[in-house]
């Protein structure tokens, strides 16, 4: 039964993808259009696995959190073009390099996680 397997690996995958390493973000992050990135993120179905606010989700396995991603752009783009897992590969016929840059800027600008102390009902 794979039901929870994907989510279970999410934390590991997040580390692999550098999501916990905000400081590792490359200085050569592209200039991009966040509004267009959001449009594409929703239109091209990125949200279906990663959530509309980049909170992460699950496909066959984990779909990592993208909100306020610390992943360097090159790694981000590499994962989109030639993913390491079951994530669909988005070729340039579907997403241009500019589209990916715009998506990257959009997800990087999404608010990331907060301290659960600010959310009392998470501490039941």
């Amino acid at each position: 039964m794979h039901k929870f397997k994907g989510v279970a690996v999410a934390t590991v995958a997040a580390v692999v993808l550098g999501l916990g390493a905000q400081s590792a973000r490359a200085q050569d992050a592209p200039q991009g259009d966040a509004a267009n990135g959001k449009r594409i993120f929703l239109k091209e179905a990125c949200f279906t696995c990663h959530g509309r606010v980049g909170q992460g989700g699950a496909y066959n396995g984990p779909a990592p959190i993208l909100a306020h991603t610390g992943l360097p752009f090159d790694a981000f783009k590499g994962q989109v073009r030639n993913p390491i897992n079951d994530m669909p590969a988005y070729s340039s016929a579907v997403l241009s390099d500019k589209d990916i840059a715009d998506i990257y800027v959009f997800v990087h600008g999404l608010p990331g996680p907060s301290s659960p102390k600010n959310f009392p009902i998470l501490n039941n």
Binding site: M1, H2, K3, F4, K5, G6, V7, A8, V9, A10, T11, V12, K43, E44, A45, F47, T48, C49, G51, R52, V53, G54, Q55, G56, G57, A58, Y59, N60, A63, I65, A67, N85, D86, P88, A89, Y90, S91, A93, V94, P111, G112, P113, S114, S115, P116, N118, F119, I121, L122, N123, N124
Partner: protein, 646 residues
Amino acid sequence: MPKRRQEADSSRRNFLKGAGLVGAAAAVAPPVAAGAMPAAPLSKAKAALPGPRQIAAETMPPASDPVNQTSSGGDYMVDVIKTLDIDYMAINCASSYRGLHEAVVNHGGNTKPEIITCVHEDIAVHISQGYAKMAGKPIAMACHGVVGLQHATMAMYNAWCDRVPVIVFGGNIMEADKRAPGAEWLHAGVDIGQLVREFTKWDDQPASLQHFGESMVRAYKIATTPPMGPVFLALDGELQENPIRDRGSLRIPKYEPVIPPVGDSAAIVEAAKMLVAAKNPLIVCDRVARTPAGMKNLVEFAEALQCPVIDNYGRMNFPSRHPLNQSFRRALIGQADVILAIEMNDLWGTLTHFRDRIDRTSHPATKPGAKIITLGMRDLYLKSNYQDFGRWQDVDLDIAGDGEASLPELTEAVRRLTDPAQKAAFDERGKKLATAHQAMVERSKVDATIGWDASPITTARMCAEVYNQIKDEDWSVVGTAIRLSWMHRLWDIKKPYQWNGGSGGAGVGYNLPASIGAALANKKHGRFTVAFGGDGDFMFNPGALWTAAHHEIPILYIVHNNRAYHQEYMYLTAMAARHGRGVDRMDIGTTLKDPNIDYATIARGMGAHGEGPITDPNDLAAALKRAIAVVKAGGPAVIDVVTDPR
């Protein structure tokens, strides 16, 4: 669905059985020439002159054959069923088992079993599945011959894959010369059990009442013996309806349950030696707990070894906040040197990385040389056609034995074989695992904060809000949507009845009726039942809500409404991306929008309380409070929560 009672019933068999009514109801009963057209349209019948039917009815001499009876085969059937402590019989009424139905109500007093009225056979079987997992014993389900059974099949397959006992009755009229023209031929079969034989443990078509008695008890015993599963009995109409010739000669067989087997003692000791000697042992499990003792036994065993547990959640196996619960740390599979797999459903899938790409490849998730021990009953009963047994997994020690029953002996063996130095090492391991577990819990809370106020509502927020409202109740969560795991990440799930697994066969339409079945089992204990379910699943069987309203089954049902068959939406997107085309068109055929479905209105239409659609997360708490009040008053309530996909 066509029903025998809905057809023009012109058979001699039914004429004769109804003949006792001739004097009193001749004006409405068509005793002869039933095939003839009435003299006047029915709408004018009251004003019309007597037609040929009525004239014939009033002038014919009384029938000479019997028109009343003082017993029926159905009475004996009920007497047998009562000895098995079967609380309910979930049905969609149908003429092919009218004899049994009438006997349950009148001879049996509609108690043990009590009729649970369902509007579809799929619902009736799924209610039975959900009930059995929560109550720890099966109920019966009855359906029409052929067509009703065809409706029931997918749910029976779910029960089969889930290894859950369900007793299914299907009406049939075995003797060709007793079948009325029309529907009775359409709804009869030489061997209707053939339809479900590949996913039932056993079936029979009794040819006599004594045969029924023995087959009923046998069916119950087979269904409830691990590995459990659904069974089917075809019940002949004549056998149900006709008088009992000699009740004194009919015996009710004695039922005595099978004691589930404990694994071979030598093999248990061998497994214990391997686990005690292991540096990084690991337990993986799926359907260990078949009684409340199961969780207790697994906890004691894991603690004896201070061994991590990865739970696939097929049953309430292990408390969510136990420090050894490492279910969300699957990387441990790759670190383990000895893995004990207990009552696993998909062992290969659990221990393997599989890639769903153009070239489908896989490689072990386990490290080279890792030893694998299995303990369980599942593989002791398999069938050929349907492939639910999964891919072959190499193992090093394969112990046939009931997991729950074998764990105490295994625990004792571990304790006996553990020396003080090993005990100290185990304790050290336990501390590290506890730290990792706590970090995992904290990580879940942090992750849950993302998009806290977003609309559509995040699934984390939805689950957190529900838990906040029910946490002080004696709650039981009995359903979830595909890949919705926030309850297990955030909630303190620790009692044997606080979870009962999934569908088994991943057949859509399980969640709502099975959750209602579990709620029915919870009702007499006064537990507060809550379930989550997807919108796609809901639409397969919304009529289940009517059953919950009709029978006053309290349940809080949260519709995780992402307005899509979302897993399929993602799969289709992957196909389009693979082909480099039309990714933005994959909502076609996969989404449930334009118009949006109003689940609260559907709920109200079924007699349940309905809230929603809720799109603002800040509206959830108030909606939950209103719905919870309804549930605590004894009724079903639905909250339609418009959510983000996952």
